[in-house]
Symmetry: C2
């Protein structure tokens, strides 16, 4: 029965970018209620409702489980080998939009808990929060958490789901990087013929010179105090950083350094996302453009603060540059010594029979810090998911290995047993 | 009668970018023949014919006069106050497409010579060459000059026409800057999520670092040997470099240095015409683009050679950069001590009653060096034109001052008298 219900869920288009989701939310709400879980739809500021649910077994411990029921647009459809909203099993895999991100993990966890509950083996309280707008950037998530923080309070938080890493070992993630995204702009009054180059300003050159001072060719960010609050990884944290160098190089299409896993987790960065000035069409045009801009993202690591980094950046940009802030997210990291970390590592070892890969933080960014701050909870971990490195998340032919769905269910159960024992 | 014939000429649309021109060429051909000048249309490789003409008065001196009868597109038409192909006189000015560049100068010179001829005061031989594709970059000009070099041989060449400079004094130009236009490209295999920034190459950063090494913030080009062949201006040459600083600052929309006239003539440059990489739309996208490029123009001065500069550039660009050459033009400069320079300066003084501005070379680029090399002639000068700093060349509401048309005719005659006397 497991997969039948999952497949019904996958058939419902919940592409939040297209305004869809409510039908999927109702399906899950009914599924929870039908299985004896108290739950309700909460219409808040976002276009799709949240689902809040709870199972109270009178424990003094509560685990909050976060997932999202919305999916990315399936386009381009002609790249799919199957209908993205018609789950298909083939060669031990299941193909469908959302199977890996995040409907599969949502359902595997939920079914595992329902099973435990029915067998009366559920010994700690569970809270559920399912979001319907994660794929459009979780707008209003902080408002929502603030407005519902009492109902969402818990001892531990389980993040949306991480399955197997690139080397096929279970992958656990204990945090996220933060982000500061800015656009820098330089202007003069008008475009000019390039014959005036000996006597006029060129915004593109001014941008190049500033960027050159901002970061070294080795990747070091040249902002005074940029690294002051960086919590460098401990030897213990580095120990769990396994990785598949060949797989990574294949995925990225280029060579990576020996210590690529440490770097990708530990290092904050300054990246050029886009740069533009002047004539960029075919052939030649001799012009000094009146406008140049660059889009930069700074990936931040614990305990860097995007607001502090922005202040430092502001203090060094030339006075004639304009700056527009396009994003600020704080980094977050749960301690490897925390109960949730220990429980999720031990349960992974039991289910998969091998050491997991543990990332102290993801190389990417997410609103984990908002959960920690607003819900006043410093035990947040990701794992207990169904995906793998070949799952094509956000892309076409999204898939998981069928066996990983059942592994995730086992993992969910073992995690709860581990948490019981603290 | 002067202006009537000019206006008929201006009414004919000769926008070479739109494939127009032949009707205008025939009009001028007939005008020359009707006035007793031997002339013919020469259909060569370009879309519009050349006109070659000659007046032989059995002198041992010959002046070749170069003009073009084609014009730039008049668009955007809604910015014009009048119909660009219907000449209108207003407030002492004449408005029409091509009146300043280059139909006005072509006709003023031609009419002056016809008048001298009829009065039997023409004492040196004249050759005419009128081009119909100057505004689309003079394609095949070198082939044409080579194929017709005997018929175009002369002692002096008068370039297309320069009237009054920014300070309203007559402006004489004795050369042009050269150009090397290149596009540099950097690629990796694929676009990547910016979370991989700690371990992968970013083509945009690689371009920034290279550009930073290529030129100093003060404008000095950091290519070894770049300045070796530069002929710095003599004190004599600097003396004639007048200029209108306030006018220049108004025209450019920014402050210029005290020695702006010397710099704009004497300094070779490296200019960013365009730069592009990654996401340049609205808002934020976190990406490491697989592609970055920059378009650069090097304005060269006598006696820099674009091929030598390209070799030097090639020797310093990183091995993973691609380079595409989009343009190579050699600089050219006629000596201030030459007969043509002396004659054009003296005649300007007589007609305008003031010292002219003399630019040893234009800040811009043109095929003057090809004329010098192929026609084996090192006495080429520009002047005897109808335009001024407010003529809106290549733009809307193109105009000249009506009196400057008659001044240019006088100047043409005085120039011929001066040349007679060497």
């Amino acid at each position: 029965m497991d997969l039948e219900d999952l497949y019904e869920f996958l058939k419902i288009d919940t592409t939040s970018a297209k305004g869809k989701g409510e039908e999927g939310a109702k399906f899950i709400l009914d599924y929870m209620k039908d299985n004896g879980i108290e739950a309700e739809l909460v219409k808040h500021k976002a276009i799709n409702p949240y689902i809040i649910g709870e199972i109270n077994v009178n424990s003094n411990k509560t685990l909050l489980i976060y997932n999202h029921y919305d999916v990315q647009p399936a386009e381009p459809l002609d790249k799919w080998n199957t209908n993205p909203f018609k789950p298909v099993e083939k060669d031990g895999k299941i193909f469908a939009r959302g199977i890996a991100d995040d409907k599969g993990s949502l359902m595997a966890r939920l079914q595992a808990i329902i099973e435990l509950m029915k067998e009366r083996k559920l010994k700690i309280n569970i809270k559920f929060v399912y979001e319907g707008v994660e794929e459009i950037g979780s707008p209003y998530i902080e408002d929502f958490l603030s407005d519902y923080k009492d109902r969402l309070s818990s001892n531990y938080v389980l993040w949306e789901g991480s399955g197997r890493g690139p080397d096929d070992s279970p992958e656990i993630v204990l945090g996220v990087k933060g982000l500061l995204y800015v656009e820098l702009r330089v202007r003069t009054e008008k475009d000019l013929h390039s014959m005036y180059a000996p006597i006029v300003r060129n915004p593109a050159w001014e941008l190049v010179y500033f960027l050159n001072t901002l970061r070294t060719p080795e990747g070091k960010v040249n902002i005074k105090g940029f690294y002051d609050k960086v919590k460098w990884l401990s030897n213990e944290e580095k120990k769990y950083l396994k990785g598949d160098r060949k797989g990574m190089e294949k995925a990225l299409g280029q060579e990576v350094p020996d210590d690529f896993m440490i770097r990708v987790v530990e290092n904050p960065t300054c990246n050029i996302d886009g740069i533009n000035s002047g004539y960029t069409g075919e052939g030649s045009k001799t012009v000094i453009s009146s406008y140049a801009f660059v889009k930069l993202d700074f990936r931040l690591v614990p305990d860097q603060d995007p607001i502090e980094i922005l202040d430092k950046l502001n203090s060094i940009i030339p006075s004639n540059f304009e700056i527009k802030v396009l994003g600020k997210v704080k980094p977050y990291r749960t301690s490897l010594k925390s109960e949730i970390a220990k429980a999720i590592i031990n349960s992974a070892k039991k289910v998969y029979g091998e050491d997991p890969t543990v990332l102290p933080n993801s190389p990417g960014t997410g609103p984990m810090e908002a959960f920690a701050r607003i819900l006043n909870n410093n035990q947040i971990a990701d794992g207990v998911g169904v995906d793998n490195a070949g799952s094509n998340i956000h892309s076409f032919n999204e898939n998981i290995k069928k066996e990983d769905y059942f592994k995730a269910k086992e993992w969910m159960k073992e995690l709860l047993f581990e948490l019981e024992n603290f």
